[in-house]
Symmetry: none
DNA sequence: AATGAATGAGGATTCATTCAT
DNA sequence: CATGAATGAATCCTCATTCAT
């Protein structure tokens, strides 16, 4: 009556929905969206198959919820990193760390990010997710940088992260440092030199 | 008028392999890798289903070939754009054009790019494709910029392109100009200011 | 008139697994293992195709189960025949009957036996089935004969049965009688005359 | 001009038919009749696929020819073994050797034998093959034994061979000796004791 | 509220065979 | 005479979803 997990009867299981969503992210990380099926997620969540369509009317509902959770989690981490920086120099360093160390230590997150982008490239519903993510990132950067710089810096982070992941040679930290410096210290704030 | 396409006998059809690969790219563009099946590609190429596995032992063989072709085509365009620039200013302008106009005019190419990245994130065989693509881009940029700048600029292009695509607000051209300027004109070539 | 078979709802059908296995044996009997497909079995069992892989993860799982049932049924009959014999003479007669009349009255059983042997010749999992079958036969014979005789008699039964089936001329009952007599009455129990 | 195999032009290749038949037997031995396809045989014979249906109108024509060759080869070996025996004792020993050593040393031959029996169990055309084989065996045995004994001995050989193959415990040679002795030395030649 | 059983559409692939060359 | 190219039927299997319990 008081023994926790064991007592989590098959019939009464609050939080099951959540567990399914988490399992879904795990499966996508391993097998990609293409390789994700209700069956596999059910197995990963240790939940009967019928439970899938009970909790989620649609496969896509589950997918969307999973990516929504993922985007928010990623976004949260980014925001916290920026919130932790006390001045612009710490902010620069935090950005470099995010690119060089944090996010893509886990290849699972790399996969998930790209899967999400892929969906977003075709489906507006997922694009809303990426848009919100980007907006939050930019707002976080604006704690330390002017809006234009924030926007460009955000794009730079994206590009460096991807290239780091899809390249075969390792990227050196000092190159990342240089890129961030150029984007954030540059004096070319005046009229654009290039047309 | 009496023959032409109709006379292309069903029995002898050189170039069919190629047509299938093209059709495959078209289908991926529309339905994503997840929505791409032999059946659909066969229909798109106007080719019987059995023809698929006759020409490609494996679904993955077709997929890999399709993305290989795509990556090369994209790479070619990039290289040509860079080769057409006669000095560094023209090179900057070419880069801005590539980001602002060319590549993502076609959402199909956006989708394909992300689908490829998604595969590359999980499968080394596809990573080899993205790696070669990136290497070629960098070499093309090195016609006009020093290696480090080329590398960073390449990442910036990536990031801006993606954000332009996944954002909901349109990106302004002058912002892109500014970003390229900062990355390529910066005087912060000395010792990195940030650690 | 209003229910019966028709009322056996398509949706709830206990014993369906069994019916499929039986149908599978029927199909093998008619078309051989090579000619047995999920489709055909599904049709024979009057069951939708998807039901096949729902009840059996694998085609081979179905096949193995079918032959397992068959081997047990054959084995049962043999054992009962032996159990019914009250003395050694009745046992001899029972053996003769088994060879001459029973088993191969039904050509279906002949086919099934050989199909099983064919599988057993290549796959240890099926060999386990034939081994168990043989072991049971021998044990049944040992009710009436010494172990060596039981073993040899069992082999003789096998050979006579096969030759009866694969020959084109009918075998005469008195020949079978003679063979059984020689194997079971012989006094050559001493040191083997042949090396 | 004189270099044998290399000179065997792809275009002129007498004996190709034979090579295909041999390859077919090899494939059946490995994969069974069910696993034998034109493609596989073509690959095994190192012959283009189109060559299959050129030389054999039908898959079954190839199959029948292959088994015909196999049955004859087996039959030949049996006959030679019997022909080599100079008296009845040597004949007995030859029989024991055939069962204990020769034929089923090669599991490939076991498989082929059972595959043939399986076909014969259903198809009269293959039954003609097994019938001829058995007739020849009997005739060979009749060099040394009376017709009835020959017939029964032949069946015994069959049964022992099969049981030896499908059992998991090894069979002892002296048991085989005993069985052959009983069948060939028995004095129960008089009126059958069993009805 | 929850689920095991069931289903039909669609997945990739293999195949014997045909035909133009 | 010989064959590479091509095809459509059939293979097994996976799947999202439905439904009776």
């Amino acid at each position: 009556m008081s023994d926790g997990a064991a007592a989590r009867s098959r019939r009464y299981d609050p939080g099951r929905r959540d567990r399914i969503v988490d399992a879904c992210l795990r499966v996508i990380g391993e097998a990609g969206v293409a390789g994700t099926s209700n069956r596999r997620v059910a197995a990963a969540a240790d939940v009967p198959l019928g439970s899938m369509t009970y909790h989620f009317t649609d496969t896509d509902e589950l997918l969307h919820e999973a990516f929504s959770r993922f985007a928010h989690a990623m976004s949260d981490r980014f925001e916290q990193a920026m919130a932790g920086a006390r001045d612009v120099d710490e902010a620069r360093r935090a950005v470099v760390d995010l690119i060089s160390v944090d996010v893509l230590a886990d290849p699972r997150e790399l996969v998930l990010t790209h899967e999400l982008y892929t969906l977003a490239a075709r489906d507006p519903r997922y694009r809303r997710l990426t848009h919100a993510w980007m907006a939050r990132s930019r707002r976080a950067l604006e704690r330390h940088f002017d809006p234009t710089t924030a926007r460009l810096l955000d794009a730079l982070i994206e590009g460096l992260t991807i290239h780091r992941a899809l390249d075969t040679e390792p990227h050196r930290r000092d190159e990342v440092v240089r890129a961030v410096d150029r984007m954030t210290r540059s004096s070319t704030a005046g009229p654009a030199a290039t047309r």
